[in-house]
Symmetry: C2
């Protein structure tokens, strides 16, 4: 693979080259299939792929007028996202060979915009903790993170320009951080989750992975059922008013690795040097209550989601998932209600600690991807923001002590739909421009 | 059937009798099955029912400790809501005998609360316009309304205490009005729609039918994943501050029948006599733009939803649905964006015409259920509020010129989640109490 290999193109560049006629859909498809062929035995990102079908679709689209913004762009889907033309196994042996009757809502929107569904990527079991075979493309002895393991690894390894994942605790931003790419977890309900296997329905979000920040508004518009704007996202940032950041270490700072902590602190100081306004936000009293609240809501709802598996297929569930369901069955109604109330309270209360437009700057993960494939790592830097329903991004910003990627997380606590996302994307673009990050 | 037949019990009374031991689950189940046996040939509310399975579940639950607020309560589901243990055919011959791999999210929540899924009710084709065989329980020559035809008819005919439906234009409130029962369409995203066949994902809502206003907070809490409050909803209404109502005829007033118009006007005047504060709200300029906006969003999204059917199963789609898809394919991206912008603007702008806490009082339908089963009636009094994402209720308040039910609609334009629903339920309870409606 060389730097001019079409597989290295981020989404926006692939769209431009395809529209200008500089690259055909078939050329892009062959480059990706060739990359996959060379790397799949190492990375194991895919659960299902149909190269001949993908080739045929690319050929057909080369002869067709442009169907939409994603015309002939290959997209990968985490295998808990339902597809009518490919198996969807939800990462569980219970559903070996299962064929859903219809596409998930977001899949319909991708196809309507012209995308080619290239294949299904490895998910942990039901997007929970039991890992699949996927490895970290930067070092196959390390986990890619989870639960959206295959989607993150495929994008990081240049096997597809973009891929959808899902996040209920930290299942998009953690693997994005471990694999050194951009991950986006939208505000709750920003993109529809119909046709995506739930884990905890009041927390589940459909997010995605990309290698360039320019790709985010394009894919977000398609998943929202809208049309990408022609406006430069950077135009949202008033040049006379540099973005504001609140450096927030959170209650889990002591659990992070020293290289990750140093990386975030250097990043914050670089941002300030580049003209950003950065201040430190102390931990509000009782904010740590959100950890138990997330666990309570997530596991109680997961026990409901998996009630029939618990009764009928218990021997086909992993030990990890059985433990989660058992824990979920223990919470009382009063505990669940208190957890929901804690989340509701902090959803607005945390905003009062921030200045208008301020973006929270925090870690994406505890550090580099851990060694071994048995665990997908720890979501403690992600689950708070998932519970609060805020949109959040992970940006690859450096490497850690063993040379693996480190990410930092940007969170927007503004809960106004669309505006919150647009501002987050704009500040991320400003950040990458100011610090010259290779994700523009 | 007599007034003491268990099948006549509304949900809250069935719960009370079951908890006190005055009625067993089996007794309630037999009463409902007997009612269904006597009436199904006339009403045709059910697409699938398994009497022996339902009996066995009721017997088992009679021996079990109470599992939740809906312990052993039979609930019916519109047949676009997926069930793992019953076929789900989406009202389409394309899916004859189709068995989904999992329950819809709301079904999981019902089961977790102890409900017995009694069966699947007739939906129009994909919840669109092509009707099924269901008749209006009050006069089988008339439509029950649609698209949630079977759910509305089954509840109205005492075949089940409550049933779920869905609304994308007027598919819950119109059949509730035609069948003389209470219908609730929640705020968009109040209840999860995962596992429910979409029609237009940015409009689809899961609502329900009941015969008593006391049932609404119970079922709403279960569908939200929460626990019903012990607080009397009426306690929300400050007795020193009677509820406020804005009588709103809307741009479709001329299209309503004279008996329906007279019914709404009398209802408003009765409310004022009973101490409610009622004023008239004129039609804001440009509010009628919402009609085209709804059509544009709904049909454009429906064309995406049904893209694969359009390509692969066109001869199994009804003429009506083909026309809708064709119309949806004609709208341009600019038209879709303008429609979304119109909806977004009015979602907040309409609130400025109302006083705080004021509830919109309008028609639920153009009048009585039309004669004939070919059409399920007209949703023009419903689709505006669906597009605006506001929660809305239909209350049965009288009968029309041929003795069939008439409904009026209460809408809360407050967009604050939970608060908006709680206030709407409370004002509906106040209304029914003040006017002595038999839905308490």
């Amino acid at each position: 693979m060389t730097a001019t290999d079409p597989s290295t193109l981020p989404l926006h560049a692939a769209i431009t080259q395809m529209n200008s006629g500089d690259m055909s859909a078939s050329v892009l498809m062959e480059a990706l299939l060739s990359r996959i062929g060379a790397r799949d035995e190492t990375v194991h990102a895919w659960k299902y792929i149909n190269p001949d079908g993908a080739r045929a679709q690319a050929r057909a689209m080369d002869k067709m007028p442009r169907t939409g913004i994603l015309h002939a762009i290959p997209v990968a889907l985490k295998d808990i996202i339902e597809t009518v033309d490919m198996p969807t196994e939800y990462g569980s042996p219970i559903y070996a060979g299962h064929r859903p009757a219809k596409d998930a809502v977001v899949v319909g929107r991708l196809r309507a915009a012209g995308a080619i569904i290239l294949g299904k990527t490895v998910s942990t079991e039901f997007a929970a903790l039991e890992p699949g075979p996927t490895t970290n493309p930067h070092n196959s002895d390390h986990t890619p993170g989870g639960s959206s393991s295959g989607s993150a690894a495929a994008v990081a390894d240049f096997q597809v320009p973009v891929a959808l994942g899902t996040q209920t605790a930290g299942s998009v931003l953690r693997p994005a951080s471990f694999c050194g790419i951009v991950g986006y977890k939208p505000a709750f309900d920003q993109f529809p989750t119909g046709g995506i296997y739930p884990f905890a329905a009041s927390l589940d979000t459909c997010g995605f992975f990309a290698r360039s920040l320019r790709d985010l508004p394009i894919l977000a518009a398609v998943l929202s059922g809208g049309t990408p704007s022609n406006q430069d996202p950077l135009a949202i940032v008033d040049p006379s008013m540099p973005p504001r950041f609140a450096l927030f270490r959170s209650q889990h700072w002591a659990e992070a690795d020293s290289d990750a902590k140093a990386c975030l602190e250097k990043f914050a100081s670089d941002l300030a040097s580049a003209g950003g306004r950065v201040r430190e936000q102390e931990l509000p009293i009782d904010f740590s209550d959100l950890d138990l609240a997330h666990r309570t809501v997530m596991l109680t709802e997961a026990a409901v989601t998996h009630a029939s598996h618990w009764h009928d297929n218990q021997n086909q569930l992993s030990e990890k998932l059985r433990s989660q369901i058992e824990a979920g069955l223990q919470f009382t109604e009063a505990e669940l209600n208190a957890a929901r109330e804690t989340a509701r309270k902090w959803r607005s209360a945390f905003q009062t600690f921030l200045e208008p437009g301020e973006i929270v700057l925090t870690l994406s993960s505890t550090g580099e991807a851990p060694i071994g494939l048995e665990s997908t790592g720890n979501p403690i830097f992600n689950h708070l923001w998932t519970l609060l329903h805020y949109p959040a991004l992970s940006l690859p910003v450096g490497t850690g002590k063993t040379g693996l990627p480190l990410g930092i997380q940007l969170v927007n606590a503004d809960t106004t739909p669309d505006r919150s996302q647009a501002h987050l994307f704009a500040v991320a673009r400003w950040t990458a421009t100011a610090l010259d990050l290779p994700i523009l």
